[in-house]
Symmetry: D2
Subunit: 227 residues, 4 copies
Amino acid sequence: LEEKILDKGFVRLVDMMGDDYAAVKAARVSYGQGLKTPERDKALIMYLMEHGHETPFEHIVFTFHVKAPLFVARQWFRHRIGSFNEISQRYTEIKEEEFYIPENIRINVPEDRQKAIVVDDTELLEKVKEAMVKTFEEAYHTYKELLNMGVARELARIVLPLSTYTQFYWTVNARSLMNFLSLRADSHAQWEIEQYAIAIAKMFKATCPWTYEAFVKYAYRGDILEA
Amino acid sequence: LEEKILDKGFVRLVDMMGDDYAAVKAARVSYGQGLKTPERDKALIMYLMEHGHETPFEHIVFTFHVKAPLFVARQWFRHRIGSFNEISQRYTEIKEEEFYIPENIRINVPEDRQKAIVVDDTELLEKVKEAMVKTFEEAYHTYKELLNMGVARELARIVLPLSTYTQFYWTVNARSLMNFLSLRADSHAQWEIEQYAIAIAKMFKATCPWTYEAFVKYAYRGDILEA
Amino acid sequence: LEEKILDKGFVRLVDMMGDDYAAVKAARVSYGQGLKTPERDKALIMYLMEHGHETPFEHIVFTFHVKAPLFVARQWFRHRIGSFNEISQRYTEIKEEEFYIPENIRINVPEDRQKAIVVDDTELLEKVKEAMVKTFEEAYHTYKELLNMGVARELARIVLPLSTYTQFYWTVNARSLMNFLSLRADSHAQWEIEQYAIAIAKMFKATCPWTYEAFVKYAYRGDILEA
Amino acid sequence: LEEKILDKGFVRLVDMMGDDYAAVKAARVSYGQGLKTPERDKALIMYLMEHGHETPFEHIVFTFHVKAPLFVARQWFRHRIGSFNEISQRYTEIKEEEFYIPENIRINVPEDRQKAIVVDDTELLEKVKEAMVKTFEEAYHTYKELLNMGVARELARIVLPLSTYTQFYWTVNARSLMNFLSLRADSHAQWEIEQYAIAIAKMFKATCPWTYEAFVKYAYRGDILEA
Ligand SMILES: Cc1cc2nc3c(=O)[nH]c(=O)nc-3n(C[C@H](O)[C@H](O)[C@H](O)COP(=O)(O)OP(=O)(O)OC[C@H]3O[C@@H](n4cnc5c(N)ncnc54)[C@H](O)[C@@H]3O)c2cc1C
Ligand SMILES: Cc1cc2nc3c(=O)[nH]c(=O)nc-3n(C[C@H](O)[C@H](O)[C@H](O)COP(=O)(O)OP(=O)(O)OC[C@H]3O[C@@H](n4cnc5c(N)ncnc54)[C@H](O)[C@@H]3O)c2cc1C
Ligand SMILES: Cc1cc2nc3c(=O)[nH]c(=O)nc-3n(C[C@H](O)[C@H](O)[C@H](O)COP(=O)(O)OP(=O)(O)OC[C@H]3O[C@@H](n4cnc5c(N)ncnc54)[C@H](O)[C@@H]3O)c2cc1C
Ligand SMILES: Cc1cc2nc3c(=O)[nH]c(=O)nc-3n(C[C@H](O)[C@H](O)[C@H](O)COP(=O)(O)OP(=O)(O)OC[C@H]3O[C@@H](n4cnc5c(N)ncnc54)[C@H](O)[C@@H]3O)c2cc1C
């Protein structure tokens, strides 16, 4: 499973362990029983989610490979329950053109400091993109210049913008993934990370349909996902 | 993979995600590279472990099914980085004969309050077992009696001894598993949990031979495991 | 702050860091601002809780000293976000009379395997207590006998029942403490741990009145606590 | 306690809970004993650290207020055992001149891709600073321009460089802090975060002298700190 996100990013499901049945089996240990009929197994998942018994979902685990701009990665890495390995900008040189250029432009509304609303304004979009591209190119130019002076990669990269793409592996269990979806597949999250969260949600739904259904019905705290 | 432990316990590998290569791939993201030759992949694992770069090993994940006495489970559940689901003694009735009867007897040495040494004394062993069995039977008898009076399982079970067997699912990544082995596959751990740890170590070695080798060589803090 | 719980247990607040203002200050960093008027500070706490912004509450931290029966401690230690140090039954001899004798008796109802309801039946209570005391005394007698044979404490203690009292230190932040209250200050939890949770809730309320109020209003998932 | 770090950063100890004695008291619960003489208390701390019994140090907790460049914060936030609240660049406008201008210049050595060595070359330093300042000013100029066009802060800020300063609260216990010091008060860490780690180490030493001494002697894995 793989999805392209934004202009140059992606989310790819690299590996996974378990599925709906893994949660059922783990929960049934609690009752000293194994799998039953599919109907009863699904009903158990619904029951667990409805009553906040979320530990059985920790036995479903995903590894994703993600490419995303730094400002998205910064938000993502705040989710501590999970494992990350990211490309090192200390050890690796950044290749040209690896900057995010938005097609989706938001403006702040004066009444609510925390709100940003999307505008469909091609002229503004072009001006924004132009200003950004120019700045990114200059920053990248300086980066290269510094490397040419012999400056260490770890230091040269501090001129690079937050729009720079990075890549990482993320291993996370379904319980923590659901928390991620509640917070990031939500209109209060920044639009860009929301796109990633929606892609993750699709892969979650495709691999764990019952758990996904139960989650959206009983535990999801965001306002975007639907059954 | 499954091993019998103690008189009635076991450890069974239910599922796993990744292997030595999963750690290599996660680490190579850091350098913007994929798999190379087996020699270089193994060398990378050795390098990571030697230099304390342990996050790549978090992408290898195991689910075990364990049957162990309560006093062992109590020690096990102290390991917070991981996921547990245990049979509920509130919801499930305990079946007879589910008590651990030791064959390995230790005595305390007066000089060191924290030390317990194994003794090979058949007479003592028989006396110990006799005293234990008698107490376990009486406890179980009271348990049944209380249930017969209508007392709730959650309350009746408080008469049961710490030798009572329990079962649980444990999902844990290789990094946390290695910490478990350092602490529990060690002569300072209680002998019983040590037996479980040794079984876990074998399964770890069988599934991730390079990581195991690197662990024992560079990161293991216990005094029992060998390459 | 200290409360006696059950027949021989207690919860004691040993130390704490921060209070309502600590959450406010941490949250205000996000907006580049410090404390304001008490009204606005309280309003911020209400806002954070209502919208699920719970990280600011992680900067309020408590250390409790708890004495509780083993079966309660077993449930408590499942809460992984926090720190425990427990008296060692491997290194320490258990003193007589340290068993929990219930005054609150519950029976199982046939219709719902997970339900246990309290009964007010003095006769039953006396019979239960008698059966329990007898079993505890026998178990303790065997424990002493085994110690006298020279058997190591770590092994002798496996005859002791789940009603045995233990003691531990628990350091936990307010966010994790609120999760504990949602799950344990709740009628689905076992009655005994509920009593401890209620005591913890009182101390939380006494030290962080605004956070407590906001919690009960917006985030609490249990069915017992009131503003 | 407060220290200035780099050109515009700082570390300030906002609050703390416990000290050497808190670890001693937590550990003594394990033995059913309280504080003893200072000599024996210190000896206990030495013993715990030497034998890897680190949980008692989780009961000592610190809250720091930190101001650091984004690339330092990114490394810091990888430490998952602890709590962060950071100023929001989505909700807050960035004030001018908040960029890190290095005085310490490192170059990469061709033989070892992971190594960066400090050079004392005033000419290079001036050239580097000039190139950086120019790029930072342009980036900041574009940032302001975008805000003036009405672009939302969350989007405008993606042009800002990794040298931009941020601020955050960090609550962390002594065990996790020691892990931070092993990894970041170390010559393999990037020089800038090392400076912060050294300041943290000083405050740790000033507030928990025995624990610090024991740590450096028995548990520290870095190569910079001294007793
Ligand atoms: C719309 C939005 C705006 C935000 N604005 C800001 C901001 O301005 N400033 C800022 O700093 N952050 C901000 N954040 C980030 C937020 O504070 C969290 O860091 C992030 O969402 C991760 O959430 P989490 O802690 O639930 O996830 P994880 O860290 O993955 O934790 C998962 C769960 O584990 C538990 N947990 C894990 N560690 C702990 C712990 N140490 N103590 C207690 N419980 C723990 C909690 O129950 C948590 O829900 C924002 C997030 C969103 C979605
Ligand atoms: C021989 C022996 C004797 C013991 N005696 C006692 C005793 O008398 N009393 C007692 O209470 N316990 C005792 N323990 C248990 C011990 O204190 C630990 O609880 C247990 O070994 C789990 O170890 P851990 O914390 O490393 O593992 P985990 O909880 O799995 O943690 C894994 C790693 O994550 C980090 N970590 C996780 N959570 C935190 C956190 N909140 N803060 C900081 N770092 C964190 C640490 O780096 C840790 O190494 C004993 C253990 C052994 C092996
Ligand atoms: C009424 C009741 C009945 C129960 N019955 C059973 C039973 O039959 N069998 C059984 O085994 N247990 C049972 N439990 C225990 C339950 O499964 C939890 O282990 C316990 O309640 C601790 O909850 P927690 O995981 O939310 O807390 P913590 O472990 O303290 O975690 C706090 C939060 O951090 C996050 N978190 C921490 N670690 C992880 C992780 N590894 N992955 C994802 N998220 C994480 C979660 O958001 C969590 O809410 C029962 C609990 C209750 C209240
Ligand atoms: C010199 C250096 C170079 C680095 N290079 C890179 C790089 O190229 N790419 C990169 O991605 N990162 C890199 N890192 C970051 C590194 O991988 C860690 O993320 C960071 O150092 C935090 O360490 P930690 O996991 O021990 O800390 P914490 O996350 O605070 O964890 C503390 C302890 O808790 C335990 N623990 C916590 N969570 C888990 C979990 N989910 N599973 C198992 N155990 C857990 C571990 O025992 C750990 O030691 C580098 C770090 C250093 C110091």
